[in-house]
Structures are given as C-alpha cells and as structure tokens.
C-alpha cells in the first residue's frame, strides 16, 4: 500500500478487530479483511460446544428406565386384557357391558371388534396414551424455569458483586447451573485471575545495585509544569528515595548515568501511548498510559515517577520529559515483542546524533544476548537479584543497551527496510533482523514488578481445597514466579513435598515422571499406614505438589506419557504448570476431562489465551476484568473476582445441585404416583383403560395441581445456610459423592412410589368397597388424595419454609379443589356428566 509515495506493508499488527476503538488519530485508511463467513465470530460460532449438565445426562438415562417401566406397565395391562378376552371369548357377544354383536341393522356383525390380536394391540396403544404421564415432559420445562430462577439469584447475589469494577455475576449459560455443585478440578489462570493484573513496580537492580524501596519508600506524585500547567501521571508509584536522588542527580556521577540509561530504557522501550486527560482542575492534567501489556504500563509509570515522563509518542519520535527538561528522541526502529525472542528492542536516535539500542526482555532470553566478557560481576549480581526478586513473587525483566556505530546502523537500517516491506515471511525476516542487532548487549539492570494477588485469594484457595476440589494453576510465568505465587496464595505450603519436572527431552520426562510416581506412592503408603493407625482412612494424605513446565508438557501431552502424568497428578493435591502456551492449557484440561468422570472448571481472565481452556472444561468461568472480554464471551459464567468462586461453588453450586437433584427425583415420583394410581384402577375395569380421574385432571395434574410447588422449592429451598456451607467447605463433598441424585435414590424413590400409590388407591377403594359409590365421585376423591399426597410429600422434604413455599404448597392444594369443582360444575366439561 502506498501513502504519500511511501510504501507501507500491512500485517497482523495492523488488523483492528471487531469492537476495537480507535484513539489518538484524526484519520484512518481501512481495508476490510475477513468479512462475512470468514469473520472470527462466524468461524467460532460453529465451534462453541453445547454443554449439557451432568445431572441431566444421568436423568436422561433414568428417563429411559422410566420408559421401560412404562412399557412394562402397558404390557402387563395388555397381557391381562388378553387373558380376560380369551377366557370370556364365548360370552363377549352377549355380555351386557361388552356386547360384541351389533343387531341394530337386522343382521349380526361385530361392533368395534377387530379380533383378539388387534384388541390386545389397541389395549396396548391405549395404555401408552393413558400412562404416558410417566415420562415427565413437564420436568424439562420445570428444570428450565428453576435454572432461570437460580441464575437470577446468582446474578443478584451481593456476595458476588464486584464493587471495584461495578460488575455483577453473569450467567451466560443456562443449562449447567447444577454442575457447579460437582466440580472436582479447578484450572486457574494466574495473571488476572489469581492476581489483579495491576502491575506495580517494586524494585530495580541497576548496574549491580539493588534498589529495593522497602520501608523507606514514599509515595509522592511526580509532576512537571508546562506552560503553567501541571502534568502528572495518573498512577502514583512507590519510589525509593536513594534511587530518586540518583535519578535527579543527572548523568554526572557514574551511578547517575547508569540510572539515567536504565530509566530512559524503561520510558522508551515500550509500545505505550500516553494520553493526556483533563481533570476538574484546569491547571492539572493527568497522563494516562495506555498499552497492551500491564507490565509495560507499570514500568512507564515507574519511569515517570523517577522523573522520566513519557509525554508523546508517534511512529517517528517520542518526547520524554527528563527531570523537567523536554527531550525529543527519534525512534529509528522498533522490534516488537514476540514470544520466540521474548524481548523487544527500540533504536533511539539521540539529539546528539548518537544511536542507541535499548532491549528489554525476559531474563532467559536476555542473558543469551548479553556480552558476557564485560562486567562479569555486574551480570552475576544482577542474576542474583533476579533470583531473589522472582522468588519473592515478582515478575522480572532485564534491560540492556548498546551503542550502535553508524556503519552498524546503516546495515541494520537497510535490512530492516527490506524486511518490513517484504510481502512473504515478513515476521520471520523481521525476527531475524532483530536478533542480528540484539546481541553483545551491556546489561543495565533488572526490574521487579509485583503482580498483586486479588483480595481473598489465599482464603478462597484454602476453602476450595478443604472442599475437596483440586486446584491446578496454569500460568505462562516462569517457574520461580509461579512457585512464589503458589506460596503467597497458600496453594503451596511448606509441608508439601514438591516434584518439579522440567526436562528437555522425552526420555528425561519419562524418567522424572516415573520417579515422581514411585515417590508419591511411597508417601501415600506412609500416610495411609499413619492414618490406619489412627483408625481412619482417606483424606489425610501427605500433600504432594507437582510443578511442571511447558517444555516438559510439549513432550508429555499427546504422547503415551499423558497417562503417567495423569496418574501422578491424581496423587498430587496441587499441580502448578508454568510456562504453558494457551493450547497446552486446553490440553491439560482435556487430559483430566477425558480420563475421569469428574467435573472440571476452568477459570481465566479476559485474555484470549484462556479461551481454549475455558471452552474445553465442563464449566468455564471468566473473570470480567481488565484484559478484554474474549474469555468472558467464551465462558459459561463470568464474575469480577476469583474469590467469588467460593460463593459460586460452595454456596450456589451446592444449592443448585441439591435443588435440581431433588426436583428431578420428585418429578419422577410425582408422575409415577399418578400413573400407578391409574394403573391400579385399570386392574378393576377388565383392563380396559377406563380412568376414574377425568381427562382434564390428568392433563392439569402436572400443569396446575403439582407444578408450582416443585418449581418454587427448586428455586428457593436451602438445605444448609450460606454460613454453614462456607464454614464447613467439606459439605461440598455431597456433590462429589453424588448424594442428591444417584441410581440408588432413584430406585428407592420408585419403590416409595409403588407403596404410596398403593396406599392412596386402596384406602379409598376399600373404604367404599361394596357401596353405591360411582366412578366419577371416587375419581375426584383419588384426584384430590393424590394431589394432597404429593404436595405433602414435598412439604415434608422442604427444609426452609418461607411464605412463598407456604403459598405454593397450600395454594396448589386449594387450586386443585377449585379446579375439580369447576370441572364438575361446567356442563361443557366431561366431569359434569358424572360418568367415566
């Protein structure tokens, strides 16, 4: 593309995705790419997996059993009818209540009789029609309604309302509410999920000296005055007084010049765009640094606090206010960050015509391009500082620089020009150019940025662990950082035995995995015997933590080692995966999901790197935080803070699961009682499917008579209070053990159904035996009896009675009586005529 005669090439970095806002520009030239079917939305829309809750899957199985049961009932009726017809085959013509023969036309022919076989067949079909209520179709509707109600309560819960971002809990999927009560594995991203993703510059090591703000730090906003107006950064950063002094002293001293270079690198080597925003006070303006990476933001804010304030950035130059003095640097080249190099660099042309290269990147990648022969001591002390930073949980970056000679620059410049306008393989060419220039660096120092833990994270993880949920942390950070975050979030404790796997080949992976398994088994047996001596078993394992890095996972995933890893991971109470790529995250989730029947939950922040993991897990939760909304769009539930997970799982998940499980069983029971009631009567009518209960009542039974209480109880009943559930997280185990809905409960319910239906049928029958009772009267009696029975049954299972429950249950019984009266009183309805 040519603009003003200049050739510009377009690449992935030029793409503006849907939903993006253009800022800091007056005009833009656009080319539409990926339109219509090729858009990301369209491509993703087919791939979104449809989720079905575990409970519903089980329920469908039980519904098949109920269907078999229905067929069995119909078969019993047909067989009985067959036997009856066969035994009375000689009487059928004249039986007053059968009268097979029709004499009205003068000639004898069969009336409504198609032979023995067909009669049986018709009986079977008719019984299917009469007994079809056995299959609780209304249950599906009730379940949807209950889920809507549960979702409403989850959304309105003030305990899951994030005040800082003013965001409520979001229910984006409506059909997996109850799965929240059975989660066994939680896969969590770290940055933005466990941590706030608000980076804070903590300390720096410059030229081998550790400036560690520590106690002496003071927060005072640095500002500059321009034309009588005050410019200050939006965020205030803690500063180290000693370092501040060096920074102010300028280039004169040796330390001063190193500090100067270091902060200049921080202020220049980034892709941050400063935005100047007005405040209510016209003389004060704030500078807001906007950029892709929160780390860079933190560094630029830090540089600003030490007097190196980035004021303006265009593609050609940057303006930095250095200790009140504006300086303009030409940006001669910028090598963006990429995950292979793990560093970025910028080439600055100084006002004095010298050209310098500033590089910033992860320590591993930086130390490989540093000129080792120079300043060995400084490199060594910097390394030591880096180690101590990362072990205290800080994210580290190393900064280096090199002065470029004119010839060197010319060579680079021409190479860069050709690479950046190349149409084929531009990215790799650029990468090559970058790595050619990024070498022989002299190390300036390192920075430590604190990734602050979110509020309540350690407590939340503690609760989840007590609840028997295994928390796996999958992070892109390096191992030391991951471990230190693990400690600070109480994921890891000092009591734990750690297995660390970071190998560079398949063979060594296999070896370390097998060693770890043997070790963990040994530990298990030891703890088992210890437990057995104590008289109990289970639970009290010596906690084992597994720490594995992305490189090892490359060899393990998608190979036969997966199984070994899974076995090992099962023995471990904590698994930390560091340096993992987004797809590996999904791979780990799949590893667990495919090998166990346990439910998995993935929680991640807004970044796109968690999307695949969130979609892979049974339940995906997105943190509606800072890094965009892609994960939220892909998730089933979204919330503001990690700690809400405790409320979500232990409280709402438990309630949802318990309520839904009970409701399904109750619906089975309710419909089966009614069907069996009809069935018992069929045994007294020559197996001819006469129903004493009017058709209207049969229809209204699951619509009006009994539906409202089950929905109300399914939405409102609480078996345990929020306080109890949070106090004893172990109660969450009810979901793991499938205590509220399982095969055994199903069969018990069915047996109970048999017994109750028999009681409700035979007591009126025997009480009116040999009396003048007519069919419709006893039918109404049975209708009301069965409605009172099932509603009382529900009433006895209700744990907390509030006025809504009262209204629903007693109201249903009253509504039933009113309905029966109406059915019997309106001549247009069959009940009025008082026959069956």
């Amino acid at each position: 593309m040519e603009i003003d005669g200049k050739r510009l090439s377009l690449g992935p970095s030029n793409i503006i995705l849907r939903g993006c806002e253009l800022k800091n520009t007056a005009w833009a030239v656009g080319v539409a790419v990926y339109a219509g079917r090729e858009t990301k939305v369209m491509l993703n829309s087919s791939g979104a997996p449809s989720k079905r809750s575990r409970l519903e899957t089980h329920m469908n199985l039980e519904i098949i059993i109920l269907s078999l049961f229905l067929i069995a009932l119909c078969t019993v009726v047909s067989v009985c009818a067959a036997v009856w017809l066969r035994r009375h085959r000689d009487e059928l013509d004249f039986l007053p209540f059968y009268r097979r023969k029709d004499f009205s036309d003068g000639e004898e022919d069969d009336y409504n009789y198609y032979g023995w076989g067909m009669e049986i067949f018709f009986t079977f079909l008719m019984s299917v029609i009469v007994f079809q209520i056995m299959i609780p179709i209304s249950l599906y509707i009730s379940m949807e309604l209950v889920r809507v109600g549960q979702a409403y309560f989850m959304i309105r819960d003030t305990q899951m309302y994030d005040e800082s971002s003013n965001s409520r809990f979001q229910c984006r999927a409506l059909n997996i509410n109850e799965d929240l009560g059975q989660i066994k594995y939680v896969f969590s991203d770290k940055t933005g999920t466990l941590t706030e993703n608000k980076m804070e510059f903590q300390c720096a090591s410059i030229w081998g000296v550790d400036y560690n703000g520590g106690k002496a730090s003071s927060v005072d906003g640095y500002y500059v005055q321009v034309d009588g107006k005050v410019l200050r950064p939006k965020m205030k950063v803690k500063t180290d007084p000693e370092l501040l002094q060096f920074a102010r002293s300028g280039k004169e001293t040796k330390e001063g010049s190193h500090v100067y270079d270091f902060f200049l690198a921080l202020a220049a080597c980034n892709t941050i765009v400063p935005l100047i925003i007005d405040t209510s006070d016209p003389t004060v303006k704030l500078i807001d640094y906007q950029g892709e990476s929160p780390d860079e933001q933190a560094l630029v804010y830090a540089a600003a606090a030490y007097g190196f304030m980035l004021i303006e950035r265009t593609s050609g130059h940057i303006v930095i206010d250095i200790q009140g003095e504006r300086q303009r640097f030409n940006v001669l080249g910028l090598h963006e960050f990429d995950s292979d190099r793990k560093r970025m660099s910028v080439i600055l042309g100084f006002p004095d015509k010298s050209v310098k290269l500033f590089v910033k990147g992860a320590d591993t990648s930086m130390f490989s391009v540093i000129e080792r022969s120079l300043n060995v001591n400084i490199i060594r002390t910097t390394e030591a500082h880096l180690h101590s930073y990362s072990s205290s949980g800080l994210r580290t970056l190393v900064v280096g620089m090199r002065e470029l000679s004119t010839s060197e620059f010319e060579v680079w410049h021409s190479a860069f020009e050709t690479a950046s306008t190349a149409l084929m393989g531009r990215a790799s060419l650029l990468r090559k150019v970058a790595s050619n220039i990024e070498n022989n660096l002299c190390v300036l120092g390192a920075s430590g940025i604190e990734d602050k833990l979110q509020k309540g994270v350690p407590e939340a993880i503690e609760s989840l662990r007590t609840a028997g949920i295994k928390v796996w942390v999958l992070t892109g950070d390096k191992q030391e950082t991951a471990i230190s975050i693990g400690y600070s979030s109480k994921l890891l404790t000092s009591k734990m035995t750690q297995f660390i796997i970071n190998s560079n080949s398949k063979e060594s992976c296999r070896k370390s995995l097998e060693d770890a398994i043997i070790m963990s088994k040994k530990l298990m047996t030891i703890s088992d015997t210890a437990n057995n001596a104590g008289g109990t078993s289970g639970a009290g394992l010596t906690p084992v933590a597994l720490i594995i890095d992305g490189t090892s996972l490359v060899y393990i995933l998608d190979s036969e080692l997966e199984e070994t890893l899974f076995q090992l991971a099962c023995n471990c109470s904590v698994v930390l995966c560091c340096r993992v790529a987004p797809l590996q995250k999904a791979g780990i989730v799949a590893l667990v999901k495919n090998r166990t029947s346990d439910m998995t939950l993935a929680i991640g922040d807004g970044g796109a790197n968690d999307v695949s993991m969130i979609q892979m897990a049974d339940v995906g939760v997105g943190i509606s935080g800072q890094e965009g909304r892609q994960a939220v769009m892909a998730s089933d539930f979204a919330m503001g803070q990690f700690r809400f997970l405790v409320s979500l799982l232990l409280v709402h998940g438990h309630w949802n699961y318990q309520r839904m499980g009970y409701m399904i069983l109750y619906n089975f029971y309710r419909n089966a009682v009614f069907v069996l009631l009809l069935f018992w009567y069929v045994l007294f009518t020559c197996f001819t499917l006469t129903t004493a209960i009017t058709e209207w009542s049969s229809v209204l039974y699951s619509v009006i008579y009994t539906s409202v209480p089950t929905i109300v109880v399914g939405i409102l009943d609480k078996d345990l209070s929020r306080r109890t559930l949070l106090k004893d997280p172990q109660l969450y185990g009810a979901g793991h053990r499938q205590e509220c809905y399982n095969k055994r409960l199903f069969w018990i319910t069915m047996i109970d159904t048999f017994w109750q239906s028999a009681v409700v049928f035979f007591i009126p029958l025997l009480a009116y035996w040999g009396s003048t009772i007519d069919g419709s009267s006893i039918g109404d009696l049975w209708t009301i009896a069965v409605v009172i029975l099932v509603n009382l049954h529900l009433a006895m299972d209700v744990i907390r009675w509030n006025w809504i429950t009262h209204a629903a249950i007693w109201g249903s019984i009253i509504a039933t009586c009113i309905c029966v009266i109406i059915i019997d009183a309106l001549p247009s309805l069959v009940g009025y005529w008082g026959h069956l």
């Binding site: 009375h88 009268r99 001819t688 035996w769 007519d774 008082g834």
Partner: protein, 336 residues
Amino acid sequence: MTDTDQERDRNKETAFYKFTQQTLPACKPVLTPAWVITIFLFTGCIFIPVGLVTLRASRSVVEIVDRYDAECVPESFRIDKVSYVQDDSIPKNCSRFLKVHKYMKAPIYIYYQLDNYYQNHRRYVKSRSDQQLLHGRKYHGTSSCQPVEFNNDHAIVPCGLVAWSLFNDTFKFIRERAELKVNRKNIAWKSDRDHKFGKKVYPYNFQNGTLIGGGKLNPRIPLSDQEDLIVWMRISALPSFRKLYGRIEEDLDVDDVVVVHLMNNYNTYSFSGKKKLVLSTSSWLGGKNDFLGLAYVFVGSSSLILALVFMLLHLRYRRPYGDTIYLPWNRKSLSV
C-alpha cells in the same frame, strides 16, 4: 411523600433485598427426637379414638345380605339358567325369607348388589349420550351409543348399552301378611334428576330390538322421573357394586321375618354374575364397612408403638442437638 410512605418503601426494599439474597425469614422445622416422638404419640392418640368411633358406627349398622340368583332358578332349569331367564313364557317370580337378627330402625335402605359386573368397562361407559338424555330425540349426535343407537331405523331413547342393560328385578316386601311400605322416590341424585335427565324427554323405541338387555321403561313417564334408570346410569366405580332400590320406612324388629317376592328377570347368568338383595340401616358414616375404622386403629397403634420404640432408642443413645462429631472431617480429628 409522607414518612410512613417512605418507611413502607424502605420496608419493601429490604424485603426485596432479602428475597434476592435468599434470606427471607423462614421457619426451619427440625425433626428432633422430641418432635418425632410427640408427633407419633399425637397421631396415635388421635387415630385410635377416631378409629374406634368409626368402627362403632360401622358395627351399629345392621345389614341383611341375601344372594338370590342361584336359588331363584327352579331346580329343573338349573342346568341351563340362561335359557330360563331369557324365556319370557316362564314366570320369574320367586320368594325369599329374610330373618331380622337385630332391630332395624327406619329408614332401611334396599339395595341390589351385582358382583362381577363391569359397569366401568370402557366399551360400556362410552355407550351413552348425555345430550340425548337431556334433550331427547331432537339431539342427533348419538354415534357414541353404538351398538344400541337405532332400531328399525328409528332412534332409541335412551340410547346406548348402559340404558339397554337396565336392571329390572323387582322386589316386594311382606311382613306378617302386610306389605311393607317401600318408598321408591328420591333414590337418585337430585342434580341428576334436575339437570341431566330431560323433564320432557320420553322413552321411545326402547328395548324393541331382537336382543333384550334388561328393563323396559314406561314411555309416558319423562326420563327425569325414571329414577331406576337414573340410578342405573350413574356408573359404579367397581365391578362389585350396590345400587339403591328404595327405602322401607318402617322399623323391623328382632326375629321379624320379611318375605320378599321378587321377579328374577335380570340376566347375570350368561357371565356368572351374582345378584344380591341387601337391606341395611345407616349410621352417620354410611353403610357397614369396618375397613376405615380398622385402618385408623392400625395406623394409630403403629404410631404409638413407633413412639415407644423411638423413646427407648432416644433414652438409650442420647445425642446432643446439633452434634457434629460423626461428620467425616470431625471424626478424623477425633481419632488424632
């Protein structure tokens, strides 16, 4: 806005807040041992007396049941009862002697009881036309009445199998040569007479076919006054049923002998159904049926026994309320 209005609004708001937070004031009944035992004791104490009263009411009813279908067929016809009952030329009269074993206070209800007669059979139940019963011949949608809808191309009123099979045995009661006065009015439901059987609907072309199912109707009396028909057409719920025939409005003393002259017209022989004549007084609870009383007594005494068992268990293995020591995670710490 006044203060009370504001207060009401605030109350509404807090009530709604409580609703959304699922913390509505709720009563949480806990079945503590004390409650369970009390409930069972209470049930027992209520049910046993109720049962006894019910049982007493049922026992106070005097009932005479006489099965006559077999013995009212003369010896010579016993081999082929069906042809006997179908032969119009043979007189069907028959006498039964009922001895009163206990004083019976008027009104004494006369029922006929049919056993093994499936009035609730689906074919039978459907074979009637309510609209015709109410509106008579001007109503034509009587297809449900098949196979007794038309005879010689004329509509039958009342149509259908139910009316066709009308019970037609008759009973006369004589005590010491004097006929007992039998009231045969008001034996059907008033609502049936007033609203479901037409006052201007007269039987027509009824029981004129080749196959006679049962009783004939006087074509000059409207259906609303044909109470035997109305009683018959109220379908009984069970295959063994009674229907009201009339009331004797005189008391019967102990050792009275009631002679019943009956016409044994109705054919139950073709399907071995039984016919019985029942004389019964009534109590406040209806007729004689011990089941309800026995059921009450049984349930009541079972609750009493359960209450005792629970009480003993409670005394033997007492646990404090809200005891959580047996929870799995508490048990562990217990053993350590």
